[in-house]
C-alpha cells in the first residue's frame, strides 16, 4: 500500500478569470473578473479548513474549483496526489465520488418534485451502487437516521420539511458516497439562529465518525472559528492570511483580518470598549482590482510601498502566513480586539471559559493579554 499523503488537497497558483464580453453577434473580451487570482494552500487529511471573506472575495469560486464544478483558468489542484485541474469532464465521476458539496440554500438545492428518498439515493443511481431496490432504500434510511431525520419520512417531498431539516437532507446526500472531502458552502447562513447549532453539531459529529476532511466556507467569523482548525482569509481573489484558528483569532497579522474581527459585534454589552478598526468604503471591483497590495485602498496602515509592490504571502511567525508589508503589531491587535484576545488568554491560563458577566469584564485587562503574548514569543 502506498503511504497516505498528509495533504488530501494541494492547490497551487490557482486562478479563475471570468471573461467580460462586449457585443452581441461578434463578442470580444474587454476584461475579466479575477474571481480567484493565484492562490495556493493545502487541505490536510481530516482537518477542517475555513475560507472566510466578504461577498465577492472568491471563496465560493474556490470551492467550486476544488470539486471541478468550474474549470480553472490556470494552476493545479492535486486531489489525493492526482491533478484534477486538467481532467476531462467525462472522467470527473471518480472525483465526485470522493469530493462532495453541501450548498447554502436548502430550498433551491433540492429538487421539489422528487421525494427525499430519491434525492438522497441519487448519488447511488449516478454511480450505480446498491442496485437492488430494497438494499438502496435500506441504505438511504440508514443515512436519514444518521443525519437526524426520521427514516419514515422517506417518501415525503422537500416542501414538507423545515429549513434545518432540508439542510440535513443536503448533508445526507453529500455523505451518501462516503466521500473523503466534504465542502460546505455557507451551510448555515440561510437558517434560523436556533437551528444553526443543530446543523453545525451534525457536521462536527459526522466528521468525527467518518473521518471526513472538511472545507468550510462562511462569511460568519464566529462560526468559522467554532468549526475550523485552520482558516484562510480571502480578499479580492487572493489569500491574505492563512493560520491556525487559535493564532488567527488571537493574533491576526494582516490588517484586513484585524478589521474583520474587529467588526464582528460581540453579544456581551460589557465586553469592554474597543478601538474598532472600521474599514471605510467598499470592496473594489474584482474586474479592476487595485495595483500592488489589493487592500491598500482601504488599509489603515497603507504606505507608499503598498501601492507599488505586491506583498507575497510568507511566514510571519508561528504557523501564520500573511501577505502584508506592515503586519499588525501586538499593540494594535490589543487595541482593536481586547476582549477577544483575552478570552483566549483565559483559556490558555486554564480557566474554565464560560465568559460570565464579571469574568468578561476582568478579562479585558491588558495584563492577561500581555501574558499571552509573552508566552507566545517564548515558544
Amino acid at each position: 500500500m502506498t503511504a497516505l499523503r498528509d495533504n488530501l488537497v494541494e492547490v497551487r497558483d490557482l486562478t479563475k478569470h471570468f471573461p467580460i464580453t462586449q457585443g452581441i453577434i461578434v463578442q470580444r473580451q474587454i476584461g475579466a473578473v479575477k474571481a480567484v487570482d493565484g492562490i495556493s494552500f493545502d487541505v490536510k487529511r481530516g482537518e477542517t479548513l475555513g475560507l472566510v471573506g466578504e461577498t465577492g472575495c472568491g471563496k465560493s469560486t474556490t470551492a467550486r474549483l476544488l470539486v471541478r464544478l468550474l474549470h480553472p483558468t490556470s494552476g493545479t489542484v492535486l486531489f489525493d496526489g492526482e491533478d484534477i485541474s486538467s481532467r476531462k469532464r467525462a472522467t470527473l465521476k471518480s472525483l465526485h465520488r470522493q469530493a462532495q458539496m453541501v450548498f447554502q440554500d436548502p430550498y433551491s438545492s433540492l429538487n421539489p418534485r422528487k421525494t427525499v428518498g430519491s434525492i438522497i439515493a441519487e448519488p447511488y443511481a449516478i454511480h450505480g451502487l446498491y442496485k437492488g431496490e430494497g438494499e438502496r432504500k435500506q441504505r438511504v434510511q440508514e443515512l436519514m437516521d444518521r443525519v437526524g431525520l426520521n427514516p419514515e419520512h422517506y417518501n415525503r417531498y422537500p416542501h414538507e420539511f423545515s429549513g434545518g431539516q432540508r439542510q440535513r437532507i443536503g448533508v445526507a446526500r453529500a455523505i451518501a458516497l462516503e466521500p473523503k472531502l466534504l465542502i460546505a458552502d455557507e451551510p448555515v447562513s440561510a437558517l434560523d439562529v436556533s437551528i444553526q447549532a443543530q446543523v453545525l453539531n451534525l457536521l462536527k459529529r459526522l466528521q468525527r465518525e467518518m473521518g471526513l476532511t472538511l472545507v468550510f466556507i462562511s462569511h460568519d467569523l464566529s462560526v468559522v472559528r467554532h468549526m475550523c482548525d485552520r482558516v484562510a482569509v480571502m480578499y479580492l481573489g487572493k489569500i491574505v492570511e492563512l493560520a491556525s484558528s487559535d493564532a488567527l483569532y488571537t493574533y491576526p497579522r494582516h490588517p484586513y483580518t484585524g478589521a474583520l474581527l474587529s467588526a464582528v459585534p460581540v453579544p456581551d454589552p460589557t465586553g469592554g470598549k474597543r478601538e474598532r478598526a472600521i474599514l471605510t468604503g467598499d470592496v473594489p471591483s474584482p474586474a479592476n482590482p487595485p495595483r500592488a497590495c489589493r487592500f491598500h485602498t482601504r488599509c489603515l496602515k497603507a504606505q507608499e510601498l503598498c501601492r507599488t509592490e505586491e506583498p507575497l504571502i510568507e511566514n510571519k511567525g508561528g504557523d501564520t502566513e500573511a501577505a502584508c508589508h506592515f503586519p499588525l503589531t501586538e499593540e494594535e491587535v490589543s487595541e482593536q480586539l481586547p476582549g477577544r484576545s483575552s478570552a483566549r488568554a483565559d483559556a490558555s491560563a486554564g480557566y474554565s471559559s464560560s465568559s460570565t458577566y464579571s469574568d468578561s469584564r476582568a478579562s479585558s485587562s491588558p495584563l492577561l493579554l500581555q501574558s499571552l503574548i509573552s508566552r507566545k514569543s517564548e515558544r
Binding site: E54, T55, D145, G148, S162, G164, D192, V193, S194, I195, Q196, A197, Q198, L200, N201, L202, H219, D220, L221, S222, V223, R225, H226, M227, S245, D246, Y249, A259, L260, L261, S262, A263, V264, P265, V266, P267, D268, P269, T270, G271, R276, I278, L279, T280, G281, D282, V283, G339, R340, A343, R344, D346, A347, S352, S353, S354, S355, T356, Y357, S360
Partner: protein
Amino acid sequence: MSPLLEVEDLRVTFDTEDGPVHAVDGISYAVDTGQTLGIVGESGSGKSVTSLTTMGLTRASNTRIQGRIMWDGEDLIAASGREMRRIRGNEIAMIFQDPLSSLHPFYKVGWQLVEAMVSHRDISKAAARAEAVKLLEMVGIPDPDRRVNQYPHEFSGGMRQRVMIAMALANQPKLLIADEPTTALDVTVQAQILALLDDLQRRLGMAIIIITHDLGVIAETADEIAVMYAGRIVEHASTDRIFGSPQHPYTWGLLRSIPRLDTTRDEELVPIAGRPPSLIHRPSGCFFHPRCPYVREAHERIDPELESVPDEPGHEVACLLDPETRAAIWRGLQSGQSPTSLRQLAGESEEGLPTTVPQRLAREARE
C-alpha cells in the same frame, strides 16, 4: 410624561385558508426619545409584523388588529389612511433588510429622496434637491453631488443601505424603525452602518427600534431588549440584564447556541431542540414548552404571563419556573453544564413530566 410610542396589548391576526395566523399575540412595549429598543427573535416570531403594524402597513381585509398603538396622544390603529400617510415616512420612518428591493430601480436616487420630502413638506423641488445632497453627505456617501444623479444599481449594498437611511431621515423622523438593517450586508459594512445609526441618533436625538436575529448586533445597539417567541414577548429587560442575568429558557437557548468570538473555541454549542411552532396550531400552555428542556407537566396547561422578576426592576419574563430555579439553572449553564443535566433542577422527580417528554428526549438524542 407619556413615552413617544406606546404599544399596548397589540394583537394581529391574519385569516388564511388554513385558519387564523396569530402573528402577534398581546405584546406591549414603549420607546422614548433618544432611546433604542431592540426586538430579537427568529423568523416567524412576529417581530416584523409588530413594526409593520405600527406603520399601518398590515391593514388588509384579512387582518384583524386589536390593542392600541399610542403615538403623540393618538391611537395609530384607529387613524385614517390619510392620517397614516402623513405620519409614515415623516414622523415615523422605516428601513428594511433588503435595500435593493426597497429602492425603485427606474428612478435616480436623488429623485426618490426629493419625492420623500416633497410629499410631506412644503418645499420646492430645487430646495429638496439641495437637501438631498446634504442628506447623502450626512450618511457618508462620498461625492454626493454626482451620486445624487445615479440609479440604485450603481450603488453597492452598503451604499444602498445608506441611501435608505438618508431617505428615512429626510423628514427628520422622531422614530426610526430598522428591520434587520444589516442582515444582507458584510460584517465590515455592517459595522459602518451600525456606527452611522449610532452617530445619527446622537446628533438627531431620535428613538430607534432595531429588529434583528443577531444577538451581537443587538448587544451593541440597544438600550433595552424584548425577546419575542411565537408572537409574544417572553422576556423584556435592559440590555445588560438580558445578557447578564437572562431569565427565560429561550433566551438561554439563543445565548448558548451561537458560536462567539469571546469564548474558547472548543466550547460546545447547545442547540435549541425542535423548531419554532406554527402560528396557526400553537402549542397549549407555555408556547415554548415543546422545545424547553426544563418543562414540567403543568407547563403544558398553564399559559405564563409576563411578570416582573423579583429584585430586578424593569425585568419581565413569561416563564412558569420559579425565580430561584431559574437562577440556579442559569448558573449551571454558565459553568458549562448541559441543559439535560440541569433538568432535575426544575422539579424533584421525573414524575409529573408530560407524556410527550420521553419521546422527545429520545428524538433529541438521535439528533
